[in-house]
Amino acid sequence: MTHRKKNRNVGIIGIGQTKYSSHREDVNQPEMIHEAVEAALKDAGITMKDVDCVVHGNMELFEMIHQPDLWHTIGTGACGKDCIRITTGGTVGATISCAADNLIASGMYDIVMAIGFEKLQEGHTTGGITNMADALWFRNLQTGALTGSKAYDVIREFGEERAKRVSMKYRIIMDKHAMRNPKAHRAFGLEFEQMDNLIKTSPKLVGDLKLIEMCSQSDGACVVIYACEKKAKQLSKNPVWIRDHITVHREEVFVMFGYDEKYPFPMTHRFAAEQLYKRNGIDSPVEYFDVFEMYDPASWWAVDWIRDFFQLKGDEHLKLVENEEIMIGGKMPINPSGGVIASNPIGATALVRIAEAALQIRGDAGDHQIPTPVSHALASGFGGTMWTVLTMLEKELNW
């Protein structure tokens, strides 16, 4: 795979998010998006006149609107501008960020606005996700994004008691983070003392995946404004640089449950991380990164994916959770925002990871800012059935 260096550097100069919520019936889609557009422009200190191109994305079938970018023009301000619509499933928020980065790095545009949104209450999430599966066969079997397979795997590898406690501990840590993020959708005020009770009482969805361990369905929008190095330095006191991003795609994987050790199934998260670190000369990602905003749709997946993303071995990933190293103030803070498990406006979700990682680097995350300086951040995007986008963000232009 050929991967060349950028023609020019790209920095984030503006970030805007709505509050994430179970329903926003007080506004329609363009009005909701406008809230985030306005906040991002204000944050960047520019107006729509300065924006050269708008990249717009969400889940293709969730609200059943064929070209929502047309309707949304009244909220985005894209009238008369180049507008590119991208829809790549769960990863879309990360993909629009990659596109914005590439569009500027190529020299085509100086300032690009990426808009990710979802109003999940206006459509049918499970219907949308099920329609992802191939129409000839798997659509008949699949129902939505729920699976107990990861719980099965972690329990098989580490034993039932430890596995269940790690998953629930991760969930409670995310809630503790969400309690500090006023934009988070779900923040319950869970305590570690509730762990055993929640393991017992939270209703099971599929296998050992419990209701509380699964992400919410949220409404909301996120907007991030990108600029070329020259403009970024002119316009922003503290631009956050996009160092690199990688996307690893694959065919849908409904048939991967063979459990035959002789035929290990290549996972895109581990593969993507490996490639990204190799080409950027990063030997120990846990040492290198100061914060990681991970696309964590459920706590079982999250716990397992920490191992893939950080190239860990054995039970190192479980120890990071058990020893609270992933908490704000820990050695490897993960999702100070509360993560996807707290807020999941799907088309915006992966862009929120990048926005939150950038806020951490700027030191502007408010109550959920991690206390130590943040220079290097990682953000992930995930889409079904299994593919990955990873983005590396930096405080300094010194790599």
Binding site: T143, L146, P203, V255, D260
Partner: protein, 395 residues
């Protein structure tokens, strides 16, 4: 029995028969239990689209029992508390069959406060009942006052709000040395003021009300306490918000192409055909035109199965509605990945397992073989995934 937002737990249960929707209870024949902490236990019996509600200590035989405290129960039923949050955070729990419990959601019309009209006395009681919750400590920081309300007429009464150190307490009667006393001759007049139908200055100038003590505090009551809202919705909503409801129903036809066509046609003959990647040896289930990993045509056909061993089963407790049919599958059900005879590695075949056998299914791996299963074929086969009804244990 405590009241929450002016509603008792038993109000919710007592109105269930009139809120019952027989069309939402089609095909449901079961008992559902409710154990409301400190309030009691109720049992709902649903059979042949009829409902019986009883308060009983005995919840045996219920397919599910919902446990909650009174406030959460009333809150969820009246929209004051977000049901999903209450459920997710464990303030509401369900014992027994979780998915059966889910069916109760469709059986009832929404609870609306039973009172269609409120008398002057009802309003007066509701206004003072909500006074403490409407107190706004930041309106006048450091306020130290006793505000006495002397409401006349048959529907009236005397109350005193004692405000000190950012807190408000309401006591019945006139407290010792009040800062301000508001005298209103007729309770009805005060209700009209509170509902915004008349203003206090009209009452004062007409001599139908008077202020004794510090006038300033009486004039600031509108800031000290948030506006009273009638529990009965009336008049125009604050914003013109409408949610438009749409249903999209689409007929679709998908071409199979020759490879999937051959695979699906073989099912009519009760055979599972597949094709193999000439490079890596991967066997596709279902058949695929190319091996996506090697990017070469998979043109070697072979017959596998139809028996095999289960490698993994999704034990599904919660069923989302199938967007293709709108139906919800009966739960729990099992979706299995079967390693058909003649296959290897991850080349498993995904299908459903006979529902009454899901608790007997064991997944396999390198060390242990999974449960042996065989397909149960449909008599009428059309070349679709459901030419196989499901798999069952091969005994």
């Amino acid at each position: 029995m405590s009241e929450y937002w002016g509603i008792k737990v038993e109000d919710i249960f007592n109105t269930m028969p009139e809120r019952f929707r027989p069309e939402g209870a089609k095909g449901v024949n079961a008992c559902f239990g409710y154990d409301i902490k400190g309030e009691g236990k109720w049992k709902l019996t649903v059979a042949n689209e009829t409902l019986k509600v009883e308060k009983t200590g005995d919840l045996t035989g219920c397919v599910s029992v919902m446990l909650a405290d009174g406030e959460t129960f009333v809150g969820v039923n009246t929209g004051k508390v977000d049901g999903v949050s209450a459920f997710t955070s464990g303030r509401v729990t369900v014992e027994g069959d979780f998915s059966a419990f889910g069916k109760t959601a469709k059986m009832f019309k929404k609870y609306v406060n039973g009172k269609k009209e409120m008398s002057t006395r009802d309003y007066i009681l509701d206004m003072f009942g909500t006074l403490v919750s409407r107190f706004q400590p930041n309106a006048i920081p450091g306020l130290d006052a006793k505000v006495c309300y002397d409401i006349g007429g048959n529907d009236g009464g005397v109350w005193t709000a004692i405000i000190k150190e950012g807190k408000c307490e309401l006591v019945e009667g006139k407290a010792d040395r009040p800062t301000t006393i508001l005298h209103v001759n007729e309770a009805k007049d005060w209700v009209d003021v509170m509902l915004g139908k008349s203003d206090p200055f009209t009452l004062l100038s007409a001599g139908r009300a008077s202020i004794e003590g510090e006038t300033q505090i009486a004039l600031k009551l509108g800031e000290i306490f948030a506006k009273y809202k009638s529990p009965i919705p009336e008049g125009e909503p604050e914003q013109e918000l409408i949610a438009l409801k749409k249903v999209i129903s689409v007929n679709q036809r998908f071409a199979t192409g020759p490879v999937m066509g051959k695979f699906l046609n073989a099912l009519k003959e009760k055979k599972i055909y597949t094709n193999k990647c000439p490079k890596c040896g991967r066997i596709h289930l279902p058949a695929r035109e190319v091996c996506a990993e090697c990017r070469v045509r998979a043109d070697e056909w072979l017959e596998v199965g139809p028996k095999g061993q289960v490698r993994y089963m999704e034990y599904v407790y919660y069923s989302s509605p199938d967007p293709l049919t709108g139906e919800t599958r009966e739960t729990p059900y099992g979706m299995v990945n079967i390693l058909l005879d003649g296959c290897k590695g991850n080349d498993t075949f995904a299908h459903l397992i006979r529902r009454d056998q899901i608790d007997k299914i064991k997944g396999g791996n390198n060390e242990v073989a999974g449960t042996r299963v065989r397909p149960v074929w449909n008599e009428h086969r059309v070349g679709s995934i459901f030419d196989i009804k499901y798999f069952e244990i091969d005994e």
